[in-house]
């Protein structure tokens, strides 16, 4: 069953994130994918995240597909103009990759090629509309094509950045443009997330789109500090940092925190799934899935997975 059908089916989703290597070594992706097999419904492949050059997300997605996983290709507007976007979307579909997550992209100044020209020909709402238009058989120029690509389009939302109310309007725009699932920034501030979800429910948006709440397990309080300082648009309650600092085993505490967060997110009305972002810590996925009760895919394969780890 593919991700698109699972979304339509209305079941609780579990996706994860995988960063391609900063080299041409495809085996890194194969090795990391073992941690996700038979657990997740989809694996996001980041597209030059934080503006640092990495292996192409579409190439990485093809490797994942060969490994028997369902890839979700992230596509940013930073690196491509409308010609490249359309050609990449067609190329993806030809490789039988159908999930695309449309993002604006981190600004190039923060990466390792700060002097690069940022493209930003389209923005993320327009990118979603462009992908939708392609899947309906029309190029942006208005020309018709013979074989339109089958695409399942997603977007991102940040429930923590100001102005919060505008974020809800923008999500509604993304739905109108043609998105069928949304992944959020990592949730640490549950109170704020609950407030955002209340706004979403007020507008009835949770019925129109599958909202996947982001969860990022951390190994230490240092990672939290770093995120608070470096990553724009993320708020981390002081209480959590304190808790991680006081923990005897910070890795253990990180797992506990992630599992607790997932349990709480599951109870919020309108949350249709979890998007796990185990940055540089892919191996923790099976454990978190087990403890948070997310390995609903196939219990029979648990032993088999044990061998793989």
């Amino acid at each position: 069953m593919r991700l698109r059908e699972k979304i339509e089916d209305g079941r609780f989703l579990f996706t994860a994130e995988l960063g391609p290597p900063k080299s041409s070594n495809g085996n890194v992706i194969r090795r990391k994918s073992a941690h996700f097999r038979n657990i997740v419904d989809g694996v996001n492949i980041t597209d030059n995240q934080t503006a640092i050059v990495r292996l192409s997300s579409i190439a990485a997605a093809k490797i994942l597909l060969e490994e028997g996983l369902e890839p979700v290709v992230q596509m940013t507007c930073r690196d491509r103009n409308r010609l490249a976007i359309q050609s990449d979307l067609l190329g993806m579909a030809a490789l039988e990759i159908e999930n695309v997550l449309c993002l604006t992209g981190d600004y190039q100044r923060f990466g390792n090629h700060a002097e690069a020209k940022g493209v930003f020909d389209l923005d993320s709402v327009q990118l979603i509309a462009a992908a939708k238009s392609l899947s309906e058989g029309y190029f942006l120029s208005g020309d018709k094509m013979k074989t339109p690509p089958a695409l399942c389009i997603g977007g991102a939302a940040n429930p923590f950045a100001d102005p919060l109310e505008f974020r809800v309007l923008r999500l509604e725009k993304k739905i109108r443009a043609g998105a069928s699932f949304i992944q959020t920034q990592p949730v640490y501030d549950l109170e704020r997330f609950r407030y955002w979800m209340r706004l979403i429910r007020e507008y009835g948006l949770h019925e129109k789109i599958a909202i996947l709440a982001g969860v990022m397990p951390v190994k230490s309080s240092r990672a939290l500090y770093h995120m608070e300082a470096e990553v724009p648009g993320i708020t981390i309650p002081q209480k959590l940092i304190q808790r991680m600092e006081n923990a005897a085993d910070s890795k253990e505490e990180g797992v506990k925190l992630a599992v607790e967060t997932i349990h709480q997110l599951k109870e919020i009305e309108g949350v249709r799934g979890i998007h796990l972002m185990p940055l540089m810590w892919e191996s923790i996925t099976p454990r978190i899935a087990k403890e948070a009760g997310l390995n609903h895919n196939a219990n029979t394969k648990l032993d088999q997975r044990g061998e793989q780890i």
């Binding site: 940022g118 709402v125 979603i128 509309a129 462009a130 208005g142 109310e165």
Partner: protein, 158 residues
Amino acid sequence: MTKKNSSKKGQKHIKMSGRDATDTLATRQKESPSRKEKALSKFMLLAEDLVKVPFFRCQRCGECILSHTGFICSQRCPKRLRNGPCGGTGEGGSCEVYPERKCIWYLIYRRARRLKRIPLLNRIEKIHNWELEKTSAWLNVLKKRIEPPIFRMKKERK
């Protein structure tokens, strides 16, 4: 925040679909402009700059959406977003790229709320036609390449 009221007559243009956004044919120039038009465009651009640059810090995109964005030019955004803020807005509405500045969409939202023009932010803005860059938006409105600005909002009845 008011609930959107899309079905009302006269407000339909506010509720644009993704299809409207990808319709690039509307703004496309069918033939290259004549000499006369070029001269007119230059003159109009000069007149427009005199108004728009000092008052709105206009970036001369030629496809003006100033009236939809609370009369603050959205093209001052480093990513030149036309449909709302990116995910990087910091605490208190600071810009991701230049933290010393305010996010332009943060300012737009505040202004639009004050002017009761939030429904206009609901529009999905068209994909930018870069051929219109550095041309006169006023002339483009007259030539019907772009939509006219919306000054008056129909009042919503309670």
